[in-house]
Structure formats: structure tokens, C-alpha cells
Amino acid sequence: MTNDVQVEAPQAPPDATPTFAMLRTLGGISLISGLLVVLAYQFTLPIIAENQRVRTEQAVFRVIPGAVSKRDFVLTDAGLVPAGEGVQGELIYAAYDADDRLKGIAITGVGNGYAGPVTVLFNYDPACQCIVGSKILQMTETPGFGDKMETDPEFLKNLKALDAKLNADGTALINPIVTVKNGSKTHPWQIDAISGATLSSNAMGKAANTAAQRAAPTIQRDLAKLTAANHTGQD
């Protein structure tokens, strides 16, 4: 900057903008903004809710093969409560086949992986007290490493018969589900980690453990509600 600039002829002071004009403009723009946002929200709300319903249903039917219908229940301290009765809480999805027999129960669990949370939907079989299938709902793991959890057939075998038996009190798992180092799985409640994706595999183990620890005791206690809901009384 040179001195010429500083000794330049004094400029006339800028016209004062009336306070009202500023308030009117910001107020008016906020009003327009509010109207547009509320309109967009109201218009898209039913479409988004339907999208979410379809997405959950597809995920449940994929993790529980052979299922054609499902009923949602909320996990509460007092037991299972059918969803939609105003009770808030974690949802589980009981899935039924064409003859209305209980095919499996989809439960969700979250574990922290390498790049963030991994959310997984598990197929819990109440008869064998084990996890018999899984589907990752959301993850941000590294492509080529963490996403092997969805594709590696050896790893997926872990989740075909993963032991989740309850203790004598029915309050927790006898053996918590854990991920062990690649190649060292010796018990049915262990998950053999993918070599090179240990942290992602750990996340899967944590997700399975939290899901089963939280949902299995309530499901076993209230199993009658899930099977009785279809009027056959047995599955």
C-alpha cells in the first residue's frame, strides 16, 4: 500500500442504511426460508418414512431367508412391547414365513471399527440360541480391507452358527462373543478375524456381543409373545 492511498481525498460518509430496511430484509428472508423448508419437510416426510420402512423390511428379509412378513417389537426393561404403542426404545424384528411360523429374529448391534461405527443386523435363532446370519447396515471401513466382512466366505462362516447361549439366570450370555486373532478360533462363540482387517473384525464381534447381550435375555423371557402373535402357538 502506498502513501498516495492514505492521502486520497476524504470520501463522503456512506449513506446510513435505515435500521428498518435491514430488519425487514432479514425478517422477510427468514420468513420465506421458513415457509420453503416447512413445505419441503411436509411434502417429503411420508415418502422418506416409506423409504425407511422398505429399507428395514428388505434388510430383515435378506438376513432371515424365507421370511415373508415381520412384526416389530420394542425392547424394554419390562419385556417386549409391540412397536407403535408409543413406547420408545431399541427395535427388534420378528420375521415369519408364509405359514406364519417364526423364522428368526433380527437384532441390531453396533461396534466401533477402524474408521467409525459398524452397524450390523443379525439373525438370532431363539431355538438354538445362536446367531445364524448377518448383514452390515452401515459402515465406513476401508474398501478392500474392512468390506471383506461382507464378502469373505471364510469370515461369513463365523456368523452362520455363532453361539449366544444364556446363563442359568437368563440375564447374560454364558460366553461373551469375542473376535480372536486370525486362525485361532476354538469355540463356537468366537469370531475368527480377517487377516489385515482386525479392527473391522473386532467391530463385528462387538456388534454381535452387544446385540445378543441386550436382546437375547428379553427375547427368551418373552418368546411366547413372538410366537403367540401369529395364533399358531408354536413355531
Partner: protein
């Protein structure tokens, strides 16, 4: 940054076209790098992000241009940001209504359109001074330029990094994906390669224009 237009611009083909090439927001102005690098890991993400940004550009540009004589300059930044945020919220809901998978793939970068400097830059440099129709046309041109640039990155990264384009497998089972291309560093590599190419073409064109007749244009 492009030179500020000082007078009312007449609508011409150039109003639209210069956003594609001469004032391309990514390859020439290097604006909006955050979504450019972050969501160009697949062609569909890139195009969706480009279209979402174009909608916000056009919508906010039109409203700002329409209201330009009522916005005192003391409150202009606040006004522009509220207007931009409004259109971003609309786009956010629209994408959720179109596809939840797409919404999950784009993640926080939809909301981050609010602070995309292409949009605020256009509002300040163009929409606040020009009439409605030229603003709309110019915004669409800039948006198209942004979308094309994102697609240029997204398609290359998806082909090299996943061996697919729009999710369709291009190569046989023997193809080993170059995974780093869909990871953040790949964004920088591909952007760098495109910038190299564009600047080379531009410089070659300038040399050809400057070269005296009779001398081969590409003589070094």
C-alpha cells in the same frame, strides 16, 4: 476468482458456456474442493452431488437476484447464507426421498453445500448484481461445469478403484482394483492429473494464438 462483472450483463450463449470451460469452478477456479475430493469416489455419487449443488446454485441465485435491490449490503452475507441454507435443506430432504442409499453415500457433504464457496462466490459476484434470467442461466452453466468436473473425477476413480462404472462391472473377475483410487489420496491423484491435462491444453491453445504465422504452434 473471476473478475466481477460491473455492468448488467446481456443474456448470451457465453453466460451459460463459460461455466463449463473458461470459468469452470473446479478445473479453473479451484473452488469447492471439499465435495470435489470427498464424494467423487464413484460416478453416481459425483453426478448426484453435482446436481444437488446445481439446484442450490440456481435456486439461491435466482432468489438473491430477485431480491438484490432489497438487500442492504450490511446484512447481505446473513441474507445469502439463510437463502443458501434453505435450498440445501430442501435438497437434503429431496435426496432422502429419492434414495436413502444415495443419502448415506453422500453423508455430511449434502449439508456442507451450505459452505460451498462456489455458491457464496456466485451470490456475491454475480447474482447480487445481475438480473434474474442471466443469473439463472449462469448458475446452471456453473453447476453443469461443476457436475462435469465431478463426473470426470468420479468416473476415473470408480473405474480404476472398483473396476465398475455406475455399478456395472467393466472387467472380468481377474481385475485387481486399484483401491487407493477410491480412498482420499486417489481424489488428489486424479484431480492433479486432470489439472495437468487441462492446463496443458490451455497453454497449448495460448501458444498457438500467440505464435506468429508460419511458425509451428507447438514448436518449443
Amino acid at each position: 476468482m473471476a473478475e466481477l462483472p460491473k455492468h448488467q450483463e446481456d443474456l448470451s450463449l457465453d453466460t451459460f458456456v463459460r461455466g463449463l470451460w473458461k470459468e469452470n469452478p473446479v478445473f479453473v477456479m479451484l473452488l469447492g474442493m471439499c465435495p470435489t475430493l470427498a464424494v467423487s469416489n464413484s460416478a453416481i455419487n459425483a453426478i448426484s452431488m453435482g446436481l444437488a449443488t446445481t439446484f442450490v446454485l440456481a435456486g439461491s441465485g435466482a432468489l438473491i437476484s430477485w431480491l438484490r435491490n432489497w438487500i442492504p449490503k450490511q446484512v447481505r452475507i446473513a441474507s445469502y447464507i439463510v437463502i443458501i441454507a434453505t435450498f440445501v435443506t430442501i435438497v437434503d430432504y429431496a435426496i432422502q426421498a429419492i434414495s436413502l442409499d444415495l443419502y448415506a453415500a453422500l453423508g455430511a457433504f449434502i449439508q456442507l453445500i451450505v459452505v460451498n464457496c462456489i455458491i457464496l462466490g456466485r451470490a456475491e459476484a454475480y447474482a447480487s448484481q445481475q438480473r434474474l434470467v442471466p443469473t439463472l442461466v449462469n448458475s446452471l452453466g456453473i453447476g453443469a461445469g461443476f457436475t462435469i468436473a465431478l463426473f470426470a473425477l468420479g468416473s476415473v476413480r470408480e473405474i480404476l478403484g472398483s473396476g465398475t462404472l455406475f455399478g456395472l462391472h467393466l472387467f472380468g473377475a481377474g481385475f485387481q482394483p486399484w483401491v487407493v483410487m477410491v480412498l482420499p489420496p486417489g481424489g488428489f491423484f486424479v484431480l492433479g492429473a486432470w489439472l495437468l491435462l487441462f492446463n496443458w491444453i490451455k497453454q497449448r491453445g495460448e501458444r498457438r494464438a500467440d505464435a506468429p504465422t508460419g511458425v509451428p504452434a507447438n514448436a518449443r
